[in-house]
Symmetry: D2
Subunit: 422 residues, 4 copies
């Protein structure tokens, strides 16, 4: 008697080979709530991944869900391009009141389309238009998106190769702590800028992530960010902070750059800004940079009102006081302690960890180890992904609303996975 192999699924027969996450987590998800996903067989998975940062408030957060359902029930307008709508007004007023004003920030708000790469594309376009220069400096292991403008300032060589054209107008500089630990910060960058014979095209802007999530959980020090901001002023370059993954409280404060005390010229937000896993993104710009012509940048889904509704609801629920920020930092300490224990316990593997707020990375000299750990964690019911150019870092990015108990549970599974794959 022969056993027929299972018939291929529609994902295998019909979806493009470009699919990726479904290869590591080969189940079919059906429901989700808070920090748990459930597959179609009802098995639960603890989420230490949070939609790659798009689910800071957890899956299907009931506070936001209620607002969303009410809006949809009453036939609030869904799709409105960049027409004025009551939902958009509420969002703008809430964002102004709870985010901008308390932080003394005076940004104009652009809705560039619903994805992070839309925000980055519009930021780069605007910077180039304002400065009249084409070149942009990015950093090693940066990730800014997959459309051509964003991809040109992204580091990953496999993704760059997908462009099919040579990616130009971008120059990488070393991110914080990239070199040997002894080279002074910005030695090379500033030398290039000050030397009229260096061959560097004078950049219109510098684009930076304060913590590189995709690039391997590389954390820039506040001092490094301050020096970068000063360099931008000194050398007439705009500073763009891509806070798509690190914004919306991931590192504690709403913006990840608050801790460094800097004020970027342009800020990109997406992922968790929609609050419910809803597509939304913002480009924030200093008022004096708002030289856009009406319609000079547009996009069909730049006015998706359900996202405005869940976004405003999330701001109301989580950013009217400093409780979330405090808890995020406390949970970060909980993670750090656990990682310290894991690293100590597995000292022979040479593990090291780094992070800030609720974004942490655990790396080993053996590049293959991170993948093995994540695979084992999945078998044990925890979703963890790798990051870094060689997928060599285990990345911990749980929802900010995860409970301390859930956090403990997941960290325990991580420790077990490390042990069992050693």
């Amino acid at each position: 008697m022969t056993i027929a192999p299972p018939a291929p699924t529609v994902f295998e027969t019909r979806e493009s080979e470009v699919r990726s996450y479904c290869r590591n987590w080969p189940v079919v998800f059906d429901k989700a709530q808070g920090s748990h996903l459930f597959d179609e067989d009802g098995r639960a998975y603890l989420d230490f991944f949070a939609g790659a940062g798009a689910l800071n408030y957890g899956h299907n957060n009931p506070l936001l869900k209620r607002a969303l359902l009410e809006y949809l029930e009453r036939d609030g307008i869904t799709h409105s391009l960049d027409m004025a709508s009551t939902a958009k007004r509420t969002f703008l007023e809430t964002f102004e009141r709870l985010i901008l004003e308390p932080r003394g920030l005076d940004y104009k708000v652009q809705f560039p389309g619903p994805t992070g790469t839309n925000a980055v594309e519009s930021a780069l376009k605007l910077a180039r238009k304002v400065k009249g220069r084409e070149s942009v400096v990015s950093f090693t292991n940066a990730f800014h998106g997959m459309s051509l403008g964003s991809l040109a300032v992204t580091g990953n060589s496999m993704k760059r190769a997908g462009a099919g054209i040579p990616l130009v107008h971008g120059t990488p500089m070393p991110f914080d702590n990239y070199l040997d630990g002894r080279t002074p910060d910005f030695l090379w960058f500033e030398r290039l800028l000050e030397d009229s014979g260096s061959g560097l095209n004078h950049p219109a802007a510098v684009i930076v992530e304060t913590v590189q999530g995709e690039g391997g959980v590389n954390v820039a020090r506040a001092e490094w960010l301050r020096k970068l901001a000063q360099l931008c002023v000194r050398r007439d370059m705009l500073l763009i902070v891509d806070d798509v993954q690190m914004g919306c409280g991931r590192t504690g404060g709403f913006f990840s750059f608050e801790e460094a005390g800097i004020t970027p010229d342009i800020v990109c937000l997406s992922k968790s800004i929609g609050g419910y896993g809803m597509p939304m993104s913002l480009t924030l710009l200093k008022p004096e940079l708002d030289v856009w012509e009406p319609g000079e940048h547009n996009g069909t889904f730049r006015g998706h009102n359900p996202s405005f509704v869940t976004s405003a609801a999330a701001l109301d629920a989580y950013w009217a006081d400093d409780q979330l920020e405090k808890q995020t930092l406390l949970k970060g300490q909980q993670v750090e302690a656990a990682l310290a224990a894991v690293a100590a316990e597995s000292a022979g593997l040479g593990g090291s960890y780094r992070g800030r707020g609720l974004i942490w990375g655990l790396a080993f000299p053996d590049n293959e180890r991170a993948g093995a750990i994540c695979k084992r964690a999945f078998e044990l019911g925890v979703l963890l992904e790798t990051s870094g150019p060689e997928s060599e870092v285990v990345k911990l990015i749980p929802a900010l609303t995860i409970t301390p108990d859930e956090l403990d549970e997941g960290l325990a599974v991580l420790g077990r996975a490390v042990r069992e794959t050693a």
Copy 2:
């Protein structure tokens, strides 16, 4: 006694100058249903604009709304990147069963991110990768999107200038009927291709809209599209049809290219594919072109399950038989007849019209007239936008689900607006 001017709104103080539609329609929309929008004062507007083609099934279509609310209520997973989910499976199976199989089309499906420009970017990347060439041919007055890859094949000079870099690797060719009406189709394009001294970089692909919506409602003849498809085969170029605005039944059949009997190598869908004004887009590719590496193109919102739900619901509701297609064509005849009457009545203005299915354009020699007509129509309660490089065309793009009476009502207002602005 002095009257204080009204305080500026939060849109004026806080939103970027890039906003555009809200300038022509200076009210705040609150609710919507079917072919009507309602502002916050309860005034109704008849919609001849349909979210620029994103609302083919009308606003907040009750059939789709029910499916969406049920999914949200039961905590179906919202955000899942490219993990497998039950909602995605249902979408894929429905799309295969109702769209691909009946048309004999064997496309792999890529979820490139939720916007049209994501679909175009991935199509261009894939074509370049497959052919190993950088150049892409587009057409005069094409519109493909605002990120750098898509913008480079878009015609509008104001939008191109926003790039801040010279846009390269794209070459425009004349769209159907662009020249003097006597020049043979593709004379210039084919001559360039056949002549090894022409200086044209051999294109990897040609990207085309069957009807240029943003470009002025320019309708390509079926014969022209067939000749183009043949030229692509003969000269080893991939044919990409950008069906973002004209797909999902806008011209009658689900795909706008069906009428011509051609099978593009790659198809871009977005706007109405989500069915409810929900952000979603697809890149369809012939199986032999599916050379993507896993994760070579990605994006945070490429797996937005509420969109899969409304999309599948829309396919079920409208594409299980040919009723929608037939009605669209009938309504198109209704529009055509009305436009003929308008043009005849206002013969002195030199008006002309063109269109296909439920996308129509009305143009006048005086480029300013279209704007004036749309402004007057808005005062009379109908939303109409202009298109074309000089905004010289009144564009009629109502929901496919508009009733014949609503259609009559709007066409009557259009006629009145033409008369009153003559």
Copy 3:
């Protein structure tokens, strides 16, 4: 008894595979005089090729030779970059007196380096700097040189492929008579320029050859050139005439554009401007365009005094009156009559001819025929090269100083070669 094959020559063992002319004319040349070359065995070859236009005054012209030898004998400075020298002064004064002033032309003179491509590169750089735009329009089958700037506006696909990068910022337009003979001149080009949605980046300049020598001896009509000049004025583009091959009397007048009565904004001269086959080139620019910074473009051999000496001697000998121009036109008639006879005699082969002044082309529907004719002509002692994208045109470009008898002799050989390869 076996015969050993001849040992490979140093050209075969040591010179790069890029060498080309030596493959068609496999002898070693030693001496040259007037319209004859002599190989090392003393065999004479009648020259209908004239160094691809660099030898308009024949090989080692005795009038120029005397001036050159005197200068070298007396240790006149040879190499002086762009220092002032007596030889350069004499050249400038002579050029002003005999060329510019009689024609009412007020050009500034730039010495951009000694080759044609240096002249083209500097012309393109200047045009882009003046207009602040990157794009340049060139024509199908244009040839402007092999460095990257010039190559990007050159048509030949094999040569373009040698760049190893995608060549951008150039767009080809149809040269005169390129299409079907019924399409109005500049229909496409002007439509692109007038339509703000066309997708054409507004060009800084148009670069054109009045007769495309390398491209197949394609002759632009004077009327076409005038329309082009008017289009450039109307649409704010600089007109660059690349007169590298067609200047210095090749078409009769000193500049090939004189006949059309136009005054280009920038003119490139090289090849015969040195007068003796000496490396030299000029970029002529209208005074108001002279926005160069000192040293912004430079080059080691831009001040090669022996070239100034032979150039000035050639101007004195041949351009103080109109004798050369008249004789060139007469000899052109002699060529034309002979080609008419050849074409008539070989009517069955479908030959056609075209030309102007002393540049003529003879083409056949069978692309291989031209190469066969040139090969046979070489065996019969006449140097003729092919041109055109498929090397399908026999190109006649004898020295302007060729005698009528020599011309007859060569034309007779051509006729015989046509017959013998039919």
Copy 4:
């Protein structure tokens, strides 16, 4: 009584503003011999500039002059494109016998056109073709030429701005000793190459000068060059040495890279290779790289036989033994000693010097000083130019054939000029 200002010269009225050397040395040169130039009033100038390296054997060297005159007298063919000629054969055989074979070098020889930038353009094209990649790494303060390909790898920002387009496909890396003196060599470059997430497009090639003449007389250590060569092998990049200014004995050996014991993949030669200030250049390539198609790179003056004649004569006269090399090194010591004395004497000015063979630089913290010194030296009858991005370096580059007495004389003038401008 008023004195009329002198009438402007033809250089001022007719030559482009781009002219530069003539501004610093405002006399009209007429004759030259050995290390002296003579202006039209008969005043002699001692030459410490040597045509920017094009006159290594002095002006109008009598050994070469005799060969040149003989060749011209006997009507040796002057202009022959890339036909085979006896003069070219003699050059190739001599170059093979005296240069390549004794050094164990097996290079194919390409004649890419007569200027340095032609050689660089062809080297870059070939490297890109061989590797199928576009990117090239150059170094800070590099100078490789003014056509677009070469300019993109040149550092000077003023010259780069002249391009009028953004210069892409090149990335600058720090030249030897560019940073703080503590950063390990190639730390940054190698890190970028080894990290697949760095964002550096993998270069096809690295192009380097062993001593940067235009860039400020920056001398790379032999060890640094060896590490670079090893890096190129390790990371699959071709190594191109641009020996246009430093080759032909300038640093002692014929090639400047001999001292380091490396063998570049491609070598660019020009300037002194023609031997008499005659335009000529070579691209040397390893045989396995010779993938050129016939005619894929060409140029009208790539076969200028008088240059072949003087070049071969120079090789015969100076490179049949090691006398020139030894004397160059001795004269270098003479210069070094004098510069040490100048620096010591003017210690308060903070002067420093560096060099190798017969190329030396003298720099001061006050960037303006170098120009003042050269101006004073000119008044005292010695030609010295500045180099470096801010023209802050006095550059000493006399003919290799300068006599020790002439060298002493010029060095004494330099010392006086330093004193008198202190």
